[in-house]
Amino acid sequence: MNEAKDTPGQVNDSPATSEYQSKIGKFINALIARITSKEFRNQFYWSFGSILLALVVAAVIMLMGGYDPGTAILYLAVGALSQMDQVFWYASPLILTGLSVALAFRCGLFNIGAEGQLYMGAMAAALVAYLFSLPILLHPLLSLLAGVLVGGFWAFVPGLLKAYRGAHEVVTTMMLSYVAILFTSWLVGPNGPYWDGSMVPQTPEFYDSAILPNIFGNYLHFGFIVAILAVFGVDYLINRTVLGYEMRAVGHNIDAAEYAGIDSKKKVAIALGISGGLSGLAGSTEMLGTYHRFIGNWSPGLGWDGITVAVLGNNSPWGVLAGAIFFGALKAGGNTMHAIAHVPIEMVKVIQGLIVLFIAAPRIIQWLINHGNANKEEIVKKPVKAMPNLLGAFFGLASVFLALGIARSIFTMATVSPWTLISALSLFLVAVASVLVFITQYSRDPRCSPLLLLIAVGWSTAAITFLVGSGGLELTSIIMAVIAFVFWIVMYMLGKNTLRDGEGP
């Protein structure tokens, strides 16, 4: 989908007055053609829609956890926008691991063990950085090189096994990643050769000559520049070189690649090797730029996030860059959210998971878009008829949130009796039914009216059992029950009317 990037949309046939100008013109034309292309728009809708949907579901979860989703999401956004240095700092290793996974994906391989390659690369870089004293520019370069080579080797082995023995790379890279974590933590632990003698399994601090300097703010170091260079490099490799072309051919259609005389086995091993090298680079830059010593189990799942970033960026280098910065923003914002709204930092992981789940199924978003368009047409054509449907959909959504919120507050009440439990359970059922109401109303499915009745009954059951259980009135439930009932009657009448219309002529 992204191959078209480097190839201009239009060919400039007129004799170029200035080679340079025409090149810029070509590039801009290509860029515009790309952004206005249907694939790009769809991709944008999908990514954006997934993020939005994930935030909605995350809000529901926060409600259930007793947090205020409004404040949480607000501070998530504020935190992300106000601390750009942190955002890029978080993003830089993710760019590299994301590129690593994306590159492997382009060759049809799933490098699920980026985490292990990251550890091995980091270990190698750390050893060069603290065992040898070298000149100032050479030291970090050699150190990074060591990281790349060792990380690459750690993936090249499963690549060979995949190519020549048919061992599935998902299993082998994953297993080797556990080996890497255990092995490195032994190396720097009390029984290993590189322990610094402290309470924590870690190496001594690196020589200053090896440290990557900061470029901006308190966090952002040169690793970010390295990552950006890697984006350019991988983009060039994939789209402009023979090797990248052959890797993509193998990834898309291995039979056709073999037929065209491409040695697919070699390409598989090389692709996984390069992928591992990128992960190793990610680990090395983190070592030299952030940690300044190797600590056992140091990575907060950078390799795993790389998978997510690659998925989010649709395996294109520039998409990975955008995805990684987005995740960096989530992390930076997550800290603010944790500090101010007191939502645990794990919420960020939940949001990430939800985004990936929605990205996995672009057809869900497509469904929403299609029905959204249909609803739009409907409103333009016959607003009177469309309104109840849309209101119903909105009601369904609101009902989900309210039901879950109240159920949550009932659960955390001081006095829990069987009656209040029943009340809470019926509210959960209401929430499920409300989701269905949203779906049916949104897609203008006529089957929603019994569901509305169910919701009305559910809300009133909740109110009554709550009254019996705790002796208090639950106003929201009563109001919702009434609204649901009214909606049911309206929908029922409308349904009858449309039936009559249908029979009439």
């Binding site: 191959e3 190839t7 023979v242 072309y245 898309h252 259609n253 056709a256 037929y259 065209a260 005389g261």
Partner: protein, 534 residues
């Protein structure tokens, strides 16, 4: 149940998600107890129509009436219970399962004393109760005996020959007590002898009162078996004719929409020196069975050598060995003076061999690649397409201009040269493959089923290209399942049977019947041996 018709399809329309309109307002009524032929070219919409009748696809509009009852078919189950059975062109059999498992799939008998499927909810419970494989096997044997289709119920499908597999498919229909039988291109994988046997069986079925719908693109078959023939073209119904009122040439005209010239014009030409020489070549297939057994032949410059044979007699393995995709176990392949035996595909290509592959979507073309990238495939690694240090950088401008030239030369229809190959029609995809393979100026072209699935226009175009190649002194090895194509184009015809070259003839030397017999393995020698043995 008094209607005359077994099946009535009215105004069936079907458009695929890609926008291809496969069926346009087709109305077809099938009388009870008749054999009706559904004739049309590849892609005319025959299979789609029958998949709709079988419940595999849902029509966009139209009515389906089976045995006088209007039905809405949501799944094949709905069609099966109404007595519709179908043998698909690509058999719906699972190779790793046994015959009995394949036959009962979807209609598994439960041990009698445990059968609870009649009570409410029993269906769900029933799906985890033991299947009565014994009774099923017995029933399969009975069906086999009654209809002269013996097969061992406990053997695995992948151990059976293609003919036996088709037998299992027919038993599967009978097991489901189908009385409306749909057969989709049943003869494409059979030898002429097996075809005859199949037709005898089918005639028995008609006598027993079953209705048969035969999908085919072969005129001969429809004329041999059918009472009525319904012709489709481009998703539209051209007409329904009685067999006695028509002739093959009339049918052909209906099929393609204009009079058909059965022969392609070509100048006689004397062949040059030997370009490809194959001696004693033996090749194994994926399952380590010897599929090519010591084959010998030569192809000269400026001739088209046609390789005829029933599918599955070693052609695929032979082609793959010639193209460097499969290592032969024995023998020698020479191109000119270069030994390419067991060499990799890149070496073979550099020796001047081009290969138009049998299955273009699997091998010839990378669908998610753009047309440009597909044009570069195979020579992407060497100048002019690659340059720089170690020829590591792709020259996108060169690739683009080369593509534009080829698109014009071969009149490939596309929106823009960086459109994805998957957006092209089948004919244009094949043109891309042909254009790319011939752009390298080869000495030898291996053309495997080059016109499979193409419409008449594209087919004729490819034929002209092949003849043009021959006239320019290129050696062409043409492998085709269509005997007509081979007879029209080839200067010499080799017949392959069971991995051996049983005969090499000039087109005038042998009639289609003789060739058919050879393809079925009836050589003079073997019949002599049989006589001697008996």
């Amino acid at each position: 149940m008094t209607t005359e018709y077994a099946v009535e399809l009215e105004d069936i329309c079907k458009t695929f998600p890609g926008g291809v309109q496969a069926n346009k307002n087709i109305t077809l009524r099938v009388r009870r107890g008749e054999v009706i032929g559904l004739l049309g070219e590849n892609g005319a919409g025959k299979s789609t129509l029958m998949n709709i009748l079988y419940g595999l696809l849902k029509p966009d509009s139209g009515r389906i009436v089976i045995n006088g009852e209007e039905v809405s078919l949501n799944s094949p189950q709905d069609a099966i219970v109404r007595g519709v059975g179908m043998v698909h062109q690509h058999f719906k059999l699972i190779p790793v399962l046994t015959v009995v498992e394949n036959v009962v799939l979807g209609l598994e008998p439960i041990l009698k004393k445990m059968d609870v499927r009649s009570i409410p909810g029993g269906r769900t419970i029933g799906s985890v109760l033991p299947v009565d494989f014994k009774t099923a096997s017995k029933k399969i044997e009975e069906i086999g005996e009654e209809n002269g289709l013996p097969v061992d119920p406990s053997s695995k499908i992948h151990d059976l020959s293609v003919g036996l597999q088709q037998r299992v498919e027919i038993i599967k229909m009978l097991y489901r007590q189908a009385n409306i039988l749909i057969l989709d291109e049943p003869t494409s994988v059979l030898t002429p002898h097996e075809v005859d046997e199949l037709f005898v069986t089918l005639k028995e079925f008609v006598k027993a009162g079953k209705t048969i719908i035969l999908i085919t693109h072969k005129l001969r078959e429809s004329m041999a078996l059918c009472d009525r023939i319904c012709v489709l073209r481009d998703g539209e119904l051209v007409g329904i004719v009685e067999r006695k009122d028509t002739s093959p040439s009339k049918l052909a005209q209906m099929m393609v929409g204009r009079p058909v010239v059965f022969t392609t014009q070509k100048e006689p030409r004397s062949p040059g020196e030997v370009v490809l020489s194959v001696s004693n070549l033996s090749v194994l297939d994926n399952r380590k069975l010897e599929k090519v057994k010591g084959i010998n032949f030569e192809v000269h410059a400026g001739e088209i050598f046609g390789l005829a044979g029933v599918q599955g007699n070693g052609q695929t393995e032979l082609i793959e060995a010639l193209a460097g995709l499969r290592k032969p176990t024995n023998g020698r392949i020479l191109v000119g003076s270069v030994d390419i035996t067991g060499k990799r595909a890149r070496f073979v290509r550099e020796a001047g061999v081009s290969h138009i592959p049998e299955d273009r979507q699997r091998m010839g073309i990378i669908l998610p690649f753009s047309v440009e990238e597909n044009i570069a495939l195979g020579s992407h690694y060497r100048p002019p397409f690659a340059a720089g240090l170690f020829s590591a950088i792709l020259q996108l401008d060169v690739i683009r201009s080369a593509t534009e030239d080829l698109v014009e030369d071969y009149s490939i229809k596309l929106s823009k040269v960086n459109a994805l190959a998957s957006t092209l029609s089948g004919g244009n995809q094949q043109k891309v493959v042909v254009a790319r393979e011939l752009a390298t100026k080869p000495n030898l072209v291996i053309a495997a089923q080059p016109t499979r699935g193409l419409d008449v226009g594209a087919t004729e175009y490819i034929h002209e290209v092949l003849i043009g190649l021959r006239d320019r002194g290129v050696a062409v090895l043409l492998i085709s399942a269509e005997l007509d194509e081979i007879q029209n184009l080839a200067d010499r015809i080799g017949v392959i049977y069971d991995g051996q070259m049983v005969a090499i003839k000039a087109p005038g030397e042998a009639t289609p019947t003789e060739l058919g017999l050879l393809m079925a393995g009836h050589t003079h020698e073997s019949s002599d041996e049989e006589v001697a043995l008996s």
